[in-house]
């Protein structure tokens, strides 16, 4: 049977969700003071730079942006076949920052656990918040996002795909049933 691909969000839908998340981040943190955005490679880093853009349009200030690769902190290191490691690039101290961690899809929560361990090895943020474009459920760890683009109950065997264009702007979110 051919895989079924259903569009969940289009480009405008993603843009509206990110605009709302940007406002929510500013509301909760009462502005941009001490705020930093950290995107998880790959996917979350693209969304993080879109969010950075949104926040600067609203507040007129550029919030520092960092990228993190969590491969070295994963718990499934012994069973992965793709061993490629991306670079972590955070050029500001994390101490006493309010860090918003950003990823495209939240599933088991294991990536976020790895990302939090990676962040804490780099410094001691004041707090860590979590922004997610799609929350698809099936958590295996006690992790809860602070900002959610769309809640999307899924079956375990379904897949979520976030499509980016060449400029790394999110174009669409698909649900794939095989």
């Amino acid at each position: 049977m051919a895989a079924e691909k259903i569009e969940i969000l289009d480009c405008e839908g993603i843009d509206r969700a990110l605009t709302r998340i940007a406002h929510e981040i500013l509301e909760k943190n009462k502005g941009v003071e001490n705020l930093a955005l950290i995107g998880i490679r790959t996917g979350g880093d693209y969304l993080a730079s879109q969010l950075q853009q949104k926040i600067s349009e609203i507040e007129g200030l550029v919030v520092p942006l960092g990228l993190i690769d969590v491969t070295m902190y994963r718990d499934d290191f012994g069973s992965r076949n793709d061993l490629s490691v991306g670079q972590t690039d955070i050029r500001f101290p994390l101490s006493d920052r309010r860090v918003v961690l950003i990823d495209d899809v939240l599933f088991t929560g294991r990536t976020i656990r790895a990302a939090m361990d990676a962040l804490i090895d780099l410094g001691r943020p004041q707090n860590i918040q979590l922004a997610i474009l799609i929350d698809r459920g099936h958590r295996e760890l006690p992790i809860r996002p602070d900002y959610i683009g769309r809640n999307l109950p899924t079956a375990r065997n379904e897949q979520i795909e976030v499509e980016f264009d060449a400029q790394h702007t999110a174009q669409a979110v698909y649900l794939i049933r095989s």
Binding site: M72, R80, L83, S84, Q87, G123
Partner: protein
């Protein structure tokens, strides 16, 4: 790409794509070495034994630091303080160590092929840290990473390697590595230190240093191994220094932005004049720094993923 080798025994067996993958992986590990907390939990619970049958400071320390920064437990065994002095064979030593269930054994041995020999007989992973006059893969990889860091890419560059070519495992690994990555390799040394058949490895052979380094992007000087064969192959160290040593004047023949490399330890005043060893074109300490990142990448790739059953 999916690349999770069981062993790293030499550059000869690796493809250009695999070499680039190792360098890219090392690039990602470099960042950890600049952090305040220089440790990631990736190899937690893994045991690495550094089994060194030859003297080494740089390579052994580098592998040890690499293992520790990945949270592995590293143990060093050197021949002089082990049961080797009591007459134990290589195979017995290795099998006894393996009975303690290490995950990776990093081996340096004076006999070419010692690492292949062990890889065939042991269940754990083996990384070659230099075997005889055969290969020294991690050195070639750290050299490639250093060249890439300074020149942006390796393809299209001209690299001159000068010294005792016959007895250098560093050269052999570097010829394989640099040629596969698209560089032109030139070799120079005294006639007694040039083995026949080098042209079959795809490099140009020169009898004098001047022609070899003319317009080169990178000059790699080798150590004269005074403790080994080196001394008997040249009339005198002074004569070698005069004809094959690199000084500021000879270096002007290379490109203006050429980099000078040396695998260490340097014989100051022999293969490298002090003014060059400390000069602005030397990248020797970058090589050492990159060595840790390259070895982290090798340990990581060998330890990770599900290994295919090898017969």
């Amino acid at each position: 790409m999916n690349f999770n080798p069981k062993h790293i025994l030499g550059i000869q067996e690796l493809s250009a794509e695999e070499l680039t993958f190792i360098l890219d992986t090392a690039e990602s590990f470099k960042e950890i070495n600049t952090r305040k907390i220089k440790k990631v939990p990736t190899l937690r619970g893994k045991t690495i034994v550094n089994l060194f049958f030859e003297a080494s400071t740089r390579t052994r320390t580098s592998f040890e630091v690499a293992g520790k920064r990945l949270s592995a437990d590293t143990i060093n065994i050197s021949a002089s303080s082990s049961s080797v002095v009591k007459g134990e064979t290589l195979q017995d030593t290795a099998q006894n160590i393996e009975a303690m269930h290490p995950d990776i054994i990093v081996v340096r041995h004076g006999a070419s092929g010692a690492c292949h020999y062990l890889a065939e007989r042991l269940n754990c992973s083996v990384i070659n840290a230099g075997d005889g006059t055969h290969e020294h893969p991690s050195q070639a990889l750290l050299d490639a990473l250093t060249i890439r860091q300074h020149k942006g890419q390796i393809a299209g560059l001209t690299v001159a390697i000068v010294g005792d070519i016959t007895h250098s495992r560093v050269v052999r690994s570097n010829i394989y590595c640099l040629s596969k990555l698209g560089a032109k390799v030139r070799i120079a040394g005294p006639g007694t230190m040039l083995p026949p058949g080098l042209d079959r490895l795809g490099c140009e052979v020169y009898r004098n240093i001047e022609d070899a380094i003319r317009d080169a992007d990178c000059v790699m000087m080798l150590r004269i191994q005074r403790e080994r064969q080196g001394a008997s192959l040249i009339p005198s160290v002074r004569e070698y220094a005069r004809y094959f040593g690199l000084n500021e004047k000879k270096l002007t023949l290379a490109k203006k932005d050429a980099i000078v490399m040396h695998p260490g330890p340097i014989n100051r005043g022999v293969e490298l004049a002090s003014s060059v060893a400390d000069g602005p074109q030397n990248v020797i300490l970058d090589q050492v720094e990159n060595g840790v990142a390259v070895r982290m990448a090798l340990l990581y790739l060998v330890a990770g993923g599900e290994k295919l059953q090898q017969d």
